[in-house]
């Protein structure tokens, strides 16, 4: 099977506090997954689950404490950043924060072309920019000489995607690309990812907390909780038939736009995130309705259940 990007045993430890009282938080703990060509893969979870840290490591903004990232069969090396980022481009959460308000938007396009030496003349640059903007439903005329404040959030996000497409990447890392876009315009961005996958064969690492759009657009999904991948598989299996108790809680907590499916019963919330990060065994044990003795002492193993990877004692041999 072809793997476009493979992440193996990725670990990132952050040290908090002063020199004397160092508190170590494992933000990403031994995470492994891969992305196939022309696939939309979701990394989903709540804030502080390590999904953005994973994305930042893949993009090279952070250095991993341990683990490897392999892109098209090549391991990432520090002196090969340009080659690496040419194949992997990023889109960020806040479309208004992505662009400097005092710079014309088109400058970002010309800059990217210059950095990667992708155009030999200004005319060629404009042609290339126009072609990429057409892929997202805009054109160079819409953009020429304009500043970020002249666009809506949804338009800016589409412009970000067009900018990312300039280098013909095989993978786009999109960190919460729709969470700051209005609900009425959200689907236009999400549909664009589908179009990129189907027409250009671009893979997308879709990082989100919004499981409903993940279900709509993604092929496979990994659910993260406090640095661990607790469940991974196709969206159909993971979201329609969640196995891990955390996925079940997450799935049940999504407010569905359907008045016949209102929330039933009460839930317990964690008081602070830190307690859960520092937990010895399974990090969800404090809130899990099925928690057993062993869950509190030893981290659970990862097991395969009907093609889905689950990290829970409920599905491992002596307990199931």
């Amino acid at each position: 099977m072809d793997k476009l990007l493979e992440v193996e045993n990725l670990t990132k430890v952050f040290a908090l506090g002063s020199v004397l009282s160092k508190l170590r938080i494992t933000a990403v703990d031994n995470v492994s997954f891969f992305i196939k060509p022309a696939e939309i893969f979701a990394l989903a979870g709540e804030s502080g689950c390590g999904k953005s840290t994973t994305a930042r490591i893949i993009l090279g903004f952070e250095h991993a404490t341990a683990g490897t990232i392999t892109h098209s069969g090549k391991k990432e090396a520090k002196n090969e950043r340009v080659w690496f980022t040419e194949g992997i481009q990023a889109i960020f959460q806040d479309p208004f924060g992505t662009f400097n308000p005092l710079r014309p938007v088109e400058r970002y396009f010309f800059e990217t072309l210059r950095n990667y030496k992708l155009a030999s003349s200004p005319a060629e640059a404009v042609r290339r920019i126009d072609a990429k903007l057409h892929a997202v439903g805009l054109s160079y005329e819409d953009l020429a000489g304009k500043y970020p404040s002249e666009f809506s959030g949804g338009q800016l996000q589409r412009i970000s995607i067009a900018r990312a497409l300039l280098t013909d990447p095989q993978l786009i890392v999109a960190d919460e690309p729709v969470s700051m876009v209005d609900a009425s315009l959200r689907m236009s961005i999400v549909n664009l990812f589908k179009k990129l996958r189907d027409e250009l064969g671009v893979s997308v690492l879709y990082i989100t907390h919004d499981l409903a759009t993940a279900y709509y657009v993604c092929d496979r999904i990994a659910i993260m909780f406090r640095g661990d991948i607790v469940e991974m598989g196709t969206v159909e299996e993971v979201l329609m038939n969640p196995r891990h108790p955390y996925t079940q809680l997450l799935r049940a907590s999504i407010p569905e736009a359907d008045t016949t499916h209102r929330w039933q019963g009460e839930i317990r919330l964690a008081d602070t995130e830190q307690d859960e990060y520092l937990r010895q065994g399974c990090r969800f044990a404090g809130r899990c309705p099925h928690a057993m003795e062993i869950c509190r002492s030893t981290p659970p193993p990862t097991v395969q259940v009907e093609g889905v990877q689950v990290r829970c004692y409920l599905y491992s041999e002596p307990f199931s």
Partner: protein, 335 residues
């Protein structure tokens, strides 16, 4: 008997800006008629920049220049009497805040003082509204309140940064409801939160409402939250309410084209059929299109949509729509 506790009548609140001799009027709230009942949860939905936050400012009588109430009025019903908020003095308004009407803002991060313990924030609130009390008494009041809401007491000794975002948001709700206000106004109280935490916050709001039998006006763009908590919903577009009905009606039988788009664009589990966004972009409130403000994006646009804003048509009891497709708009002013 009329059970309306909060009423707006043809409310118009505009930002009047004067930039280097060029004047600009932002019509953020335009002819809004609301009649919010006692003991209900009223949801206001709309995209960013549709004027929902400005409407809330007018509701809590926090109108500061350049925002001005240009027309219409907001009335509270206090002890059976209708009170026009524009007639209240600053002292009277201050006395009503928290005890009669309370406001839960969006960012829980910026509300709580980062260098004060939650206990001190509570004491400030209690002292400024109930007069100076002994610390012990104020603390006992805060403790009782937190226990009522099911929050752990140890948070009183914490600084805001030691609490998670969801806990901070629940602390702001607890603070806002300390004096048992009759009206609680929430401006996107769950927007920045994770889904599980959001559910916890909504659970707390529902519990507060059940306990105090008060009114909650909840503004959010998240239709899923509305479906879970609201009794009635008003859909706001470009400064106007374009449709208002019971929650079941809004989700089950939306009548305005904008509402229909809003509902049908929501992704659902177990259904991967392609969904479309509303075409185009929301209009600028400083430069609204003539007639119905939705006409440039509407698939059913007719000539008269471009000329005249439709009034409300009552298509059923408690279901009103401002659209020419639905009716002639004979039921009064468009809100």
């Amino acid at each position: 008997m009329d059970n309306t506790i909060l009423r707006t009548t043809a409310l118009q609140a505009f930002y009047q800006l004067d930039l280097y001799g060029k004047s600009k009027v932002v019509k953020a709230v335009n002819e809004v008629d609301l009649a919010i009942q006692a003991d209900e949860i009223y949801g206001i939905a709309g995209e960013s920049g549709c004027g929902k936050s400005t409407l809330l400012k007018a509701l809590v009588a926090a109108v500061e220049p350049p925002l001005r109430v240009v027309g219409g009025k907001v009335t509270y019903r206090i002890d059976g009497k209708e009170v026009d908020v524009s007639t209240l003095s600053p002292e009277q308004k201050r006395a009503l805040r928290l005890s009669y009407i309370a406001y839960v803002p969006q960012g829980s991060m910026s509300v709580l003082n980062p260098v004060a313990r939650i206990r001190d924030t509570y004491r400030d609130f209690i002292e400024s509204h109930l007069g100076r009390q002994r610390h012990q008494e104020a603390f006992a009041l805060a403790q009782d309140h937190l226990t009522d809401l099911g929050l752990p007491l140890k948070i009183l000794d914490a600084y805001p940064h030691q609490l998670s975002g969801g806990m901070r948001q629940r602390v702001t709700i607890a603070l806002a409801t300390l004096l048992k206000p009759r009206i609680l106004i929430g401006d996107e109280p769950t927007t920045a939160l994770d889904v599980v935490v959001q559910r916890g916050v909504v659970q707390l709001l529902k519990e507060v409402q059940a306990r105090l039998k008060n009114t909650i006006v909840l503004v959010t763009h998240d239709m899923g939250v509305h479906a879970n908590i609201a009794d009635r919903i008003g859909i706001m577009y470009a400064g106007r309410i374009v449709e208002e009905a019971a929650t079941e009606k809004i989700f089950g039988a939306p009548a305005h084209p904008y509402t229909q788009y809003l509902i049908s664009s929501l992704p659902k589990f177990g259904d991967k059929t392609p969904r479309e966004s509303v075409p185009g972009s929301p209009p600028s409130l400083a430069n609204l299109p003539g007639g119905c403000p939705f006409h440039p994006r509407c698939p059913h646009v007719q000539t008269r949509c471009k000329e005249k804003m439709p009034g409300f048509t009552q298509i059923e009891k408690n279901h009103r729509v401002a659209c020419w497709l639905v009716g002639e708009g004979e039921h009064g002013q468009a809100a």
